[in-house]
Symmetry: C2
Subunit: 912 residues, 2 copies
C-alpha cells in the first residue's frame, strides 16, 4: 500500500480531522477539522510528520511524497482557480510548520509564497493595488531569505530603514509604492551578492525550499534544547501546511476581522468582535485605523455577515465551546482563517459553561472542565476598575504575596493604620518588613506593602491568612520614616497620599485606582443575598457539579473560628492545618508567651503556660463550634521561640545607641538593664538558619510542657463542645518529624494528656495523632513513622525548601532566573516539583501505606491550593488537600478536573 | 533427643565454648572459653537462652531443664566440696543474666546466694570472720529483695542509714559485726512485713527465684525499649549463669587483684597490675587500702604468682590479645574471675600490635584490626601531661571543635595574639566568635576558644583546617572586653593569665597544664628523624599493613600547597576537596573580593575578578606541584557572598551610633556615607537562612564570570605545571547541584574555558567535571545528574543538614538531648545517619552507576574521617573518602578494618 504523505482540505471536505495531531500537527489537524465543520476555510494541504522524519533520515523528500505534493498542488490550483507562478491569476500560499506540541525555535511561517518579478505585477493588476503587491513581495523576500535561505534578518531591516529615511517617513506603512519597488530591487541584489545566486524566481522551487526549511527546523538548536528541557521525544517530527492566501484588501467588497461567539469578558451570548473594510488582518490590530464593532458589518455586507453569524454558531456547536475566530472577506466571499477556543475571564468562563449546559450544548462534566481552576481567584478577589486601572501603569513591582486589589492612604506604622482606620480612612500599611507587633495595623489596613521579605515572610503569610491584598519584597521602595516619605522608583509619596497595590500581579501604583468587591465573596460573607447575584448563582452551580465529580476532599488552613466559618462558606470539608502559633500573637497573649520563653526552669515555664491555656482552649472551642464535627487538624507549636522576641539586631542597635549617648532609657521607656536582659536570652536563642533550627517537634521534645499545655487545651475544648452537643474530631499533628522516635515521644505526651482530661471530665473524646512529612528524612523513613502516625500531612513548603536546599525567603535572588532560563520548568514553591519533592512524596505514600494500609494522607503546604499540585495529589491518591480559605474553590475545581481527566483517559484507553 | 538446657564449666573442662554466644550469652560463652583455655575459673553452669524463651512462653521452667539444673548443681557442689544451704560447708553462688548483646534494664547480678540464718553462721565459722559473713548476708538480702522480690532499693538504704547514724559511723565498711546482725534482722522484718511472708530461707528456692527473675528481666520495660531503639530482635532471650563464689578475704593466704598482660599506657611487655592480701575485689578499687604493685606478689606468694604469670601469658596467647584480668586467691588457690581484651591507649595499641606480629602471635591483618581507628588521633595531637592534667578538673565545657591540647596566655584580640606571639609568648585566643579578620591571630595562637558558634562555625572550620586545638560554643564564658577579663563559670581570668584547652574533649581549664607534642607529627613535619622515634616506627609499620588491606582510597581536604604537602605526609592519595573560598580570604585578596561583590555590572565584576585570577592561579599551581600528578578535586566558589562582607548587624550598630552621637566617622576612620553604601549592598545580600541561600552553583549560574575565572585559574595553573614537567589531574567539582541543568550549564562554562586555555597554551590538559551530592534533590535525581557528571562527591555535612532539616550551627540546643535520650543513636554530624542520609546516598550510588557505570564516587564531608562512616562508604562501594589531613591515618585504618572485616565475614559465610 502506498503511504499517504499529504492530506488535503478545502471546500468543506478534508482528508484528515482534528484527532490527527500526531500526523498532521496541531495546525494541520485543526484546519482539517474546521473544514469538516462546514467552515469556508482557504483550501490547502498538510504534509505529514512522517514525511519530515523520512526527509531528515534520507536528507531528501521521498519521491512518493513529492509526487503527492504535486498532485495536491494541482488540486489546490483548481480549487482557487489560480496557479502558482501564473502572472494572470497568481496563487499565493502560506507555508507553516506544526508539530503535536508548539515549540519555539521551529520555523514559523512564510507568507505570500509564489511572488516573483512577474506574479507581483500580475497581483498588482488583479488587486488594482501595486503598493499592496510590492509590499507583499518585499515582505516575502525578507521572510524567505531569513528562514529558508539563512540570511540574517537585520540586513533587510537595514536596507528598509535606509529607504524609510530617504523617503522621510516614520513607519513602513507610509512608504510609497515606487519606493517599495526599489526596496525589492535592493533586497534581491543583496541576496544575490550574499549567496552568489539570485533570489529564486521559480515559484515551485520557492515552495520546495520552504517545505524543506520547515523540516530542517525540527532539528534546529533551539527546538532541540526546548525538547530536551521539556522531555519531548525527538522522533515526533513536524508537519508542513500549505494554504492558499486570501486578501481582505481587494477593495470595498473585501474586509477582515476578528470575533468571539460570546462576550469574553462577561460571557454574554452575542457575537462580539471588530472588522475593517478593505484591510489586512494586521491592520485590525495595528491601531492605525480604528476597527468597527462587528454589529456594523451587518449593514455593510448583510450576506457575508449572515454567513459569518451562521458559521460562528456552527463552529461553537461543533467544538462545543465559545470560539475566537479570524475571518477575511475577499471580494464578497467569506473565508474563516482560524478558530479556536476563546480565552475568557473567570466570570465569563463560569457563565458560558453554565449557559451551555442549559442550552444542551455540553454536559455538566464538560462544563466543569471549561472553567480553569486558575481562573477562580478572579471571582473572589477585589479587582481594580479595569478602565481606571488602564490609565495607571505600575510604578514598581514586588512579590504577589496575597492576591487582590487595594487602594488607600499611605501610612507608615501599625498604630497609625489602626487610628486612621478607626476614623474611617482606608489605609495601605507600608513597612520595611512586618513583625507580630504590626498585626493590629495589618488588620486595620486594606492592603499591606513591604520593601523586604519573601513569599513566606510575616507580611505574606499573615496577608494571605487575612485574605488581605499584599505586595512584599518590593525592593524599589525606600522608606524615609523621619520625613514620612516613601520613594517608589522615581516617585515620592507622602503619608496620607493615595496609593494602590495589586496583590495578584505584585504591582504598586502611586495613585488612587478604584476597586470593586467580588459578589461571590459578599455572598459567602453574608453581605449579599445569593439570589441577587447571577455570578454567584453560576459559580455555585458549577462548584456543585465540581464537587460531584471530585474524589479528593478539600480542607482549609484556618487558625480561628471566623476563618473556619469563612472556609465552610467556601466549601471546606474540614481543617487540614490549624496553626497554633498565630494564637500566641494576640496583644494579650504575647506577654505571657514572652514570659514562658524567658523562663529559666520548667516550673516557671509551666506557670506561664498556665496563663496561655485558657486562651488556647477558647480558640479551639471556637473552631470546633464553627466546624460542627468536621475534622480539625491542629498542629502543635512550630516556629522558633526567638520569633516571639525582639530581634537581636534591634536590641544591639538600641543598646549601642543608649551607651553611645549615655542615656539610661529608650524613647519608649525601656531601660538599658531590661534591654540587656532580653539580649542575653535572645543571644541564647538566636539562630544562623532558623528554618533549620530549634522548631517544630524539637520544641515540644525539649520543653514537653508546651505540648502538654496545647494537648490539654485541645481536649478541654473538645470536652466543652461535646458538652454543648457539638461533635468534634480533633486530629493532633506533630510538625517537622524526621525520626519515628520524635513522634512516639510527642504522641505519648498527647495520649497521656487525653487520658487525663477524659478521666477528669468523664467523657470520651475521639481523636487521632499524626505528623507532617516536611523534611526529607521524614519521607524516607515514612514506613517506620507510620507505625506511630495515624495520618501524614505533607508540608510541601518546608519539604521543598529542604529537598532543594532553597530558603524560600532568600531564593528570590536566583529562583527567578532559574525559571526564566529554563533550569526549572516551574517555580517549585508554587507547583510541586514532581521529579524531586514529588518523588519523596511518592516514596512516603508507598511506605506509609505498606505499614498502615488505612493511613490518612493529605497535604497542607501552600501547594494544596495550586491546580497542578492538586492534580499531582490526586495522582498520588491522597485523601485530601488543604489550603487557605480563598483557595478552597480553586482546589475543589482542580480536584474535579483531575478526576474527570482521569476518567476521560481511562475511557480512551478502554476504547482504544 | 533430649534438649541440652544447661552447660557446665570448671576444672579446665567446659561443655560450651566462646562461639556459643547465642545460646550461652556473652558471659556464659566467655567463662566456658576461659575454662577451656586451662584457666582456673570458679566452676559453675549456664542455663541457655532457649530455656529463657521456653520459660517466657509457658510461664514455667521446662521440667527437663529443672532436672538438668539439679544435676549440674550437684556436680558443682562436688567440685567445690561445698553444698548449697549446708551450714558446715556452705556453697555460695552468683547468678547473672547474659544475652548475645549486653543490655541495660536486664537483671545484672545476685551475689552471695545461698546465705540464710544458718549458713551465715557456718560461713562465719569457716572464714573465722563474722563481720564478713554478716556483711555478705545483708548485701544478699538487699540485692535479692530488690531484683527478685521487687522491693524498692531505697527501703534498705534507709534502714542501713539509720544504723550507720546510730552507730556513729560514716561508711558501710565501718559498721561493726554486731550492728550488721541487727541490720539483717531489720531487713528480714521489713521484707516479711512488705510481702506478708518471710525472706526465703531455703537456698534452693532462692536459686530458682533468682533464675526466674533473670528470665523475666528479658521482658522488662527498659530492656524492651532498648531493643526497640537498637533494632535487637525480641526472641533472642537471655542465658543465666550460676557460678561458685570464692573469697580473697579468708586470711593471709588469700588475696585479690587486677592486672594486664602488658602495660596499657605504653604497650611495654610486662605483667602489670595491683593486688591486696586478705581482701575482696571491691577493696582494690575502693581506695580505703592502697593496693600494691603486682611484682610484690611474687615475694608474698611465689607459687600463686608463678601460676598467675603462667596463666596470664597463656590467656594472652589463647585470645591473641593483651588481657585485662581479675583474680582471687582463696586460701592459696588461684582463681581467675574474668579476662578480657585490655583497653589501651593509642600508643600502647600500636606497640602491642606490632610486637605481637614480631612475636608470631598474630598476623599483620590481625594487628591492623587491633588498632581502633578512633585511637589514631591520640598519636597525632599534642596531649596534656597526664599527671599534671589529673590535678585540674575542667572548669567549663564547650564543643570539641578541633582536637589536641593547648596551653597559653589569654588574649582577647587577634592583633594581641600576633604581637604576643611575635615576642615569643604562647597564647590562647579567646573570642565571642571569630571572623575572617581574626585569621592572623588564630594562626599565631596555640589554641582558639570561643563562646559562641557551632561545629561548622568559622573558628571550628579554620581550627581543624590549621590543626589548631579549638573549643567553640563554650556558653559558660562571659567576655568583658572593657576590663580584659574572662569569666569561666565561677572563675575569673585576666588577660595574660594561663589557660588550657582540650580540643579533644572540649574542655577549658583555668590553669597552666603542660603539653607534650606528638612524635608522629614531628616526623611527618620533618622535625624529627623517623629512626629516632619508636612510636613513629610502629605507627608507620601498622599503617603500611593497613594500606595493603584496604580497598577504599583516601584523599585529603586541603586548600593550600603546604596543607597538600602535609596531607601527603599523612598518606593522602589525592585531594578530594580543595575549597576555593579560603583562597579569597587572604589579607591582599579580600579587598578585590569585596570589590567584585560590590560591583553593579558584569563588567565591573570581571575587572575585579581579573585581579583575583593571578592569585588563584598561583594557589592551584602550588597545590598541583605538591600533589605531583595525584588527582586534585577543586570545588568552585561555595559560600554566600555576604560572608565576605561585614555583617548587617555590625553596620546597623555603627551607623546608629554615629547618628545618635552626631559624629561623621567611626574610630577606625569609616565615614557614615561609606558605611551606608556598604549597608545598602549587604541589605541586598543578607539572608534569613544563608545555609539555604544564594550559594554553591547558584553563584556561578547568576554570575558566570566567577566560574569562568576559577576555571581559567585552574587550567592556566595546570598548563604552567605541565610546562614544568609536573603531571596534573584536576577534577572540577560544582557544589550544591540539585538539578542536572545546573550542572550542565556550569559544565559548559568550564569546558569552554578549558578549550580556550588549551588552545592559547597549545597544550592538552586532562580534566574531569563532576558534582557534589549534598542536597536531597541531587541524590534523588542522581540518575539524571550522572548524564553530565563524571564523578559524585557526597557532601554529607550539607546532606545531613538538609535531610534532617537541622542547621549544624543551631542544632546544639536539641541535638545533645536527642542523642542522650536515645531519639538518635548517633550524632548525625559525626557519623552518617544510615537510615536517612545513608538511604539517599545508596539511592544516588545506584542511580548514578545505572546511568554511568564507571562514575567515580567519593565523600568529602567531615564524615570522611569518621571510622563508622568510612565503613559505610566501604559498604556502599565508594571509590574514596576525603578528610582533613590529620584524619587521614584514621581513614586509612578505618578503610582497612572495613576490608578485613568484610573478608572475615565472607570467609565465615563460605565455611558455614
Amino acid at each position: 500500500m502506498t503511504t499517504k504523505y499529504v492530506y488535503a482540505f478545502g471546500a468543506k471536505e478534508a482528508e484528515g480531522d482534528g484527532t490527527m495531531r500526531d500526523l498532521l500537527g496541531g495546525k494541520g489537524a485543526g484546519l482539517a477539522e474546521m473544514t469538516l465543520a462546514g467552515t469556508p476555510v482557504p483550501p490547502g494541504f498538510t504534509i505529514t510528520t512522517e514525511t519530515c522524519n523520512a526527509y531528515l533520515e534520507q536528507q531528501a523528500t521521498p519521491a512518493e511524497a513529492a509526487k503527492q505534493i504535486d498532485e495536491q498542488l494541482g488540486l489546490l490550483e483548481k480549487r482557487m482557480s489560480k496557479r502558482l507562478g501564473d502572472p494572470s491569476a497568481p496563487l499565493l500560499v502560506s507555508v507553516r510548520s506544526g508539530s503535536r506540541f508548539s515549540m519555539p525555535g521551529m520555523m514559523d511561517t512564510v507568507l505570500n509564497l509564489g511572488l516573483n518579478d512577474e506574479t507581483v505585477e500580475g497581483l498588482a493588476r488583479v488587486t488594482e493595488n501595486p503598493r499592496f503587491a510590492y509590499d507583499g513581495y518585499r515582505r516575502f523576500i525578507h521572510m524567505y531569505s531569513d528562514v529558508v535561505l539563512g540570511i540574517a534578518h537585520e540586513n533587510f531591516e537595514k536596507i528598509l530603514a535606509g529607504h524609510r529615511e530617504k523617503a522621510g517617513v516614520r513607519t513602513d506603512g507610509e512608504i510609497p509604492a515606487d519606493v517599495l519597488r526599489q526596496v525589492v530591487a535592493d533586497y534581491k541584489a543583496f541576496v544575490e551578492k550574499t549567496l552568489g545566486r539570485p533570489f529564486p524566481q521559480d515559484a515551485r522551487a520557492q515552495l520546495d525550499g520552504a517545505i524543506e526549511a520547515v523540516f530542517r527546523s525540527w532539528n534546529g538548536e533551539r527546538a532541540r534544547t526546548y525538547r530536551r528541557i521539556h522531555h519531548i521525544p525527538d522522533d515526533l517530527g513536524t508537519a508542513c501546511t500549505i494554504q492558499a492566501m486570501v486578501f481582505g484588501n481587494m477593495g470595498d467588497s473585501s474586509a477582515t476581522g476578528v470575533g468571539f461567539t460570546r462576550n469574553p469578558a462577561t460571557g454574554e451570548k452575542r457575537l462580539y468582535g471588530e472588522f475593517l473594510i478593505n484591510a489586512q488582518g494586521e491592520d485590525v490590530v495595528a491601531g492605525t485605523r480604528t476597527p468597527r464593532p462587528l454589529a456594523e458589518l451587518k449593514e455593510e455586507m448583510p450576506r457575508a455577515f449572515g454567513e459569518l453569524e451562521e458559521i460562528a454558531m456552527r463552529l461553537e456547536k461543533h467544538y462545543g465551546d465559545m470560539q475566537d475566530f479570524e475571518f477575511t472577506i475577499e471580494d464578497g466571499t467569506l473565508y474563516m482563517l482560524q478558530t479556536r477556543a476563546g480565552k475568557r475571564t473567570g466570570m465569563a468562563a463560569v457563565h458560558v459553561a453554565t449557559d451551555m449546559v442549559d442550552e444542551g450544548l455540553i454536559s455538566q462534566e464538560e462544563a466543569v472542565l471549561r472553567v480553569d481552576p486558575s481562573q477562580i481567584p478572579q471571582l473572589l478577589h477585589p479587582v481594580f476598575d479595569p478602565e481606571a486601572r488602564a490609565k495607571h501603569p505600575a510604578d514598581a513591582r514586588g512579590l504577589n504575596a496575597s492576591p487582590g486589589a487595594a487602594c488607600g492612604r499611605l501610612v507608615f506604622t501599625a498604630d497609625d493604620a489602626k487610628q486612621w482606620a478607626e476614623r474611617g480612612e482606608k489605609v495601605i500599611l507600608v513597612r520595611q518588613e512586618t513583625s507580630p507587633d504590626d498585626i493590629h495595623g495589618m488588620f486595620a489596613a486594606v492592603g499591606v506593602l513591604t520593601a523586604a521579605g519573601g513569599m513566606t515572610s510575616h507580611a505574606a503569610v499573615v496577608g494571605r491568612q487575612m485574605g488581605k491584598p499584599s505586595v512584599v519584597g518590593c525592593t524599589a521602595l525606600r522608606i524615609d520614616m523621619e520625613n514620612r516619605k516613601l520613594t517608589v522608583g522615581e516617585k515620592v509619596v507622602s503619608e496620607g497620599d493615595w496609593i494602590s497595590i495589586d496583590g495578584t500581579a505584585g504591582e504598586v501604583i502611586c495613585a488612587q485606582v478604584p476597586t470593586t468587591e467580588s459578589e461571590v465573596v459578599r455572598v459567602v460573607m453574608g453581605e449579599l443575598d445569593p439570589t441577587k447575584s447571577a455570578l454567584y448563582g453560576a459559580f455555585d452551580r458549577i462548584m456543585g457539579w465540581a464537587d460531584e465529580a471530585r474524589r479528593l476532599r478539600v480542607r482549609a488552613n484556618a487558625d480561628t473560628g471566623p476563618d473556619a466559618a469563612l472556609a465552610i462558606g467556601f466549601g471546606a470539608q474540614g481543617i487540614g492545618l490549624c496553626r497554633t502559633e498565630h494564637m500566641f500573637l494576640g496583644e494579650h497573649r504575647l506577654p505571657a508567651v514572652r514570659e514562658m520563653i524567658l523562663s529559666r526552669t520548667a516550673e516557671e515555664r509551666r506557670a506561664a503556660l498556665e496563663k496561655i491555656l485558657p486562651m488556647q482552649r477558647e480558640d479551639f472551642a471556637s473552631i470546633f463550634r464553627a466546624m460542627k464535627g468536621r475534622p480539625v487538624t491542629v498542629r502543635t507549636l512550630d516556629p522558633p521561640l526567638h520569633e516571639f522576641l525582639p530581634s537581636h539586631e534591634d536590641l544591639m542597635v538600641r543598646i549601642a545607641v543608649l551607651k553611645a549617648t549615655g542615656k539610661n532609657e529608650t524613647e519608649d521607656g525601656r531601660s538599658l538593664a531590661e534591654l540587656e536582659q532580653q539580649l542575653e536570652r535572645v543571644e541564647e536563642l538566636v539562630e544562623q538558619n532558623p528554618m533549620l533550627g530549634w522548631r517544630g517537634c524539637r520544641l515540644g521534645i525539649i520543653y514537653p510542657e508546651i505540648t502538654e499545655m496545647q494537648a490539654r487545651a485541645i481536649f478541654e475544648a473538645a470536652a466543652i463542645c461535646l458538652g454543648e452537643g457539638i461533635d468534634v474530631m480533633p486530629e493532633i499533628m506533630v510538625p517537622l518529624v524526621g525520626h519515628v522516635e520524635e513522634l512516639s515521644r510527642q504522641r505519648a505526651l498527647v495520649d497521656e494528656t487525653a487520658k487525663a482530661v477524659m478521666s477528669e471530665k468523664g467523657i470520651d473524646i475521639p481523636y487521632t495523632v499524626g505528623t507532617m512529612i516536611e523534611v526529607p528524612r521524614g519521607a524516607i523513613t515514612a514506613g517506620r513513622i507510620a507505625e506511630v502516625a495515624e495520618f501524614f500531612s505533607f508540608g510541601t513548603n518546608d519539604l521543598t525548601q529542604t529537598t532543594f536546599g532553597f530558603s524560600r525567603d532568600d531564593a528570590g535572588r536566583f529562583l527567578g532566573h532559574y525559571v526564566e532560563s529554563g533550569i526549572l520548568e516551574r517555580e517549585p514553591f508554587v507547583t510541586v516539583d514532581r521529579e524531586g519533592v514529588g518523588e519523596l512524596m511518592r516514596w512516603a505514600v508507598e511506605k506509609g501505606r505498606a505499614t498502615r494500609s488505612g493511613i490518612k494522607l493529605g497535604i497542607c503546604g501552600e501547594h494544596g491550593g495550586d491546580p497542578e499540585s492538586v492534580a499531582f495529589c490526586h495522582e498520588l491518591g491522597l485523601d485530601y488537600v488543604s489550603c487557605s480559605p480563598y483557595r478552597i474553590p480553586v482546589a475543589r475545581m482542580a480536584a474535579a478536573h483531575s478526576a474527570l481527566l482521569e476518567a476521560e483517559a481511562r475511557e480512551k484507553r478502554s476504547t482504544a
